[in-house]
């Protein structure tokens, strides 16, 4: 049985200008110890989906799914008390902005021991040793003295390490990392990613890495889920995705990177991600797709083999991909 099973997860928000569908039918299954990356740009719903899993969305949201099971427990029908027992203990999440993710009024030691005492009971003081051990594990020097530091006394990289220490304190089975290194410098980013992989191996944690940075995905993930405008457009193992992307959006996204530019100009994708008011009738990517056909504009595609496209790409011998199933066109 998979550790995490999500089927057809949908999230709607009630806004001042009507209802907004932020997530539209995500399917995801994760086994113990796997590393999966969820990739998408802004408006893709990648963070919202995982926040829905954790029950951290505001009251204006409506979450629905066919299945949302973690370790055999139904997350959808759980009440808040039962959910609080799992969140932070079996499922943990680290966020993008390390400086603002920690409570500025409480010391680092307080925040780590608070997590432990909440889930395992007893006084916070009893967990000081465990907190020091955790800080050492995440690579913070002089861990004993750091227990009494406040977040503003630490750098961004160190705050992120503290965040990670807090989140692995209870040895979770699943760790969700939402853009954990976007706000950090590139050398610190490398250190934090190495740390996450190392911890993941030691503790046999499943890791969901949410990011918009394709290069981070290439170096870290085993499997990749690509999201566009709230929909899941492709799910592949990482090698396949980078060598032979099968959805036009994945291909266009990779081609738009500076590394893959052939010539002076980059291969930009024309247009913008659809917002609330300009959602196309058929395939959401159709206004920007270079392989678009008549049926793409009229009808929404149905997923075949985890690819949400009327005409999934199949790569030819050369670098350029061609479309199969040209249909009546």
């Amino acid at each position: 049985m998979a550790l995490l099973e999500i089927a057809n997860l949908t999230v709607d928000f009630a806004t001042a200008t009507g209802s907004l569908r932020a997530v539209d039918g995500i399917d995801l299954e994760i086994d113990e110890g796997e590393i999966v990356a969820i990739v998408g740009e802004s408006g893709s719903g990648k963070s919202v989906g995982m926040l829905a899993l954790m029950g951290l969305l505001p009251w204006t949201s409506t979450v629905s799914a066919d299945r949302m099971f973690f370790d055999g427990q139904d997350l959808l029908r759980m009440n808040n008390r039962e959910r609080r027992k799992i969140i932070g203990k079996d499922i943990s999440m680290i966020f993008q902005e390390p400086m603002t993710s920690l409570n500025p009024c409480l010391t680092v030691g307080y925040q780590i021991t608070e997590v432990l005492s909440h889930h395992f009971g007893g006084k916070r003081r009893n967990y000081n040793d465990r907190a020091i051990e955790l800080l050492k594990q995440v690579g913070i020097a002089a861990a004993e003295s750091r227990l009494n530091s406040y977040p503003h006394q630490l750098s961004g990289g160190m705050c992120q390490r503290v965040m990670i220490a807090m989140m692995i304190a209870c040895q979770p089975k699943l760790l969700i990392a939402d853009e954990p290194t976007t706000a950090l410098d590139v050398t610190i980013q490398a250190q934090i990613l190495d740390l996450l992989i190392e911890l993941q191996k030691i503790h046999r944690m499943a890791l969901i890495l949410i990011t918009h940075d394709m290069s981070v995905v290439a170096e870290t993930a085993e499997r990749v889920v690509v999201l566009y405008a709230g929909q899941q457009v492709e799910q592949q193992n990482v090698r396949e995705l980078f060598n032979k992307p099968r959805h036009p959006y994945s291909e266009a996204l990779l081609n738009a990177l500076p590394e893959r530019a052939q010539g002076n100009l980059l291969n930009a994708i024309p247009g913008v991600v659809p917002g609330q008011t300009d959602r196309p009738q058929g395939c959401l990517f159709s206004p920007r797709c270079s392989y678009v056909k008549e049926i793409c504009i009229q009808e929404s595609p149905i997923a075949k083999d985890e690819i949400l496209c009327h005409f999934p790409l199949k790569p030819s011998k050369s670098n350029k991909s061609i479309a199969i199933d040209m249909g009546s066109q």
């Binding site: 740009e41 802004s42 750098s155 961004g156 990289g157 160190m158 410098d185 590139v186 050398t187 610190i188 980013q189 490398a190 250190q191 990613l193 190495d194 918009h212 940075d213 394709m214 290069s215 981070v216 995905v217 290439a218 170096e219 990482v238 090698r239 980078f242 060598n243 266009a252 996204l253 990779l254 738009a256 990177l257 500076p258 590394e259 893959r260 530019a261 002076n264 100009l265 980059l266 291969n267 930009a268 994708i269 024309p270 913008v272 991600v273």
Partner: protein, 325 residues
């Protein structure tokens, strides 16, 4: 023969930081000895991590602040000396800036048309119709539609706002544009659009760019020359191909190796850097990089390295000088 637009020599910028009522103020050396040349139509990339001084450099180049010492000649005018109001006005038209945050760089209470007209209102004597005409022209060049004239910034996406910011920078027809992480806050697909726009504009108007970024893949694509900075000091500079193919300074090597790549078939050799960048108020003695450098020696803790020429590039490294690497 392209014109020399910027000649910076040994620029220093110090700030006084008060640390307590009775203690003397400490000196924060934000910039320590930066120098470079920039010609018409060229792009110089300034690369480094937070705290390296690239934002300070941007402020000096756009004349928001004056250097503490050193010389900065912009379009033939030495701005470190006192200037008359007319020269200041002229210089303002020569150097303009595009900021990192597309959400914060536009006044949320002003319509786009008003934001773009402001530089013309302040610096020219055009009447309202002429200004409007110029604004519509520049909006067309950067890919905005004429109806956007009446809209407020919050009605636009990040990419469109950056286009407005670029339009604002170009409306006074500058020769030099300082771009402070102009695409870092944008999605990949929008990044590509904006970078293409910048490249086309450079070709059409013969602009010189100072491109500040931490994203080395973008830098590799757009820049001609690169200046790598660490804790306010330049550590390596030279043509882009030379630096990327054969980085000589240990920090440049670590930076390049830390940058992830989407080339999944190639295994990278990673140089792991330990620790973090020290605070600029308490820099290490000697070479600023020595606590994290794998080639550090005793001499590195004592003396500061100076920029030396090695082939086509310049490097400030004692290990290199002493032929240890």
């Amino acid at each position: 023969m392209p014109q020399l637009l910027i000649k910076a020599t040994d620029l220093h910028k110090h700030y006084g930081i008060k640390s307590g009522y009775l203690q003397a103020s400490k000196k924060l050396k934000a910039l320590a000895g930066v120098g470079f040349d920039l010609f018409e139509g060229q792009t110089l990339a300034v690369v480094g991590e937070s705290g390296c001084g690239k934002s300070t450099l941007a402020r000096l180049l756009t004349m928001v602040e004056k250097p503490t010492s050193g010389q900065l000649i912009v379009d033939g005018v030495d701005i470190t000396k006192a200037q008359t109001n007319t020269t200041k006005k002229q210089l303002r038209k020569t150097v303009q800036m595009v900021f990192q945050d597309p959400f914060g760089s536009l006044n949320p209470r002003q319509k786009i048309g008003h934001i773009l007209q402001e530089p013309l209102v302040i610096n020219t004597k055009l009447n309202s119709l002429e200004r409007r005409q110029k604004v519509l022209e520049i909006m067309d060049i950067v890919g905005l539609r004429s109806e956007h004239f009446q809209r407020y910034p919050h009605m636009f996406s990040g990419g469109q706002r950056q286009r407005v910011a670029i339009a604002r920078a170009l409306i006074l027809k500058p020769k030099i544009v300082v771009l402070d992480e102009p695409v870092s806050a944008l999605d990949v697909s929008i990044q590509a659009q904006v970078i293409n726009l910048l490249i086309e504009l450079q070709k059409e108007f013969g602009l010189a760019y100072i491109f500040i970024s931490h994203d080395l893949s973008v830098v590799q694509h757009i820049a001609d020359k690169i200046l790598v900075m660490y804790l306010g000091k330049p550590v390596e500079q030279g043509p882009i191909d030379v630096i990327f193919n054969d980085p000589k300074h240990p920090y440049t090597q670590a930076l390049l190796s830390a940058t992830p790549s989407t080339n999944i078939n190639k295994k990278r050799k990673r140089i792991k850097l330990t620790g973090e960048m020290p605070s600029p108020i308490n820099p290490p003695t000697g070479c600023a990089f020595n606590p994290r450098c794998q080639h550090a020696h005793n001499s590195c803790k004592v003396s500061e390295p100076i920029m030396q020429t090695y082939g086509n590039s310049q490097v400030a490294c004692l290990a290199l000088n002493e032929k240890r690497i």
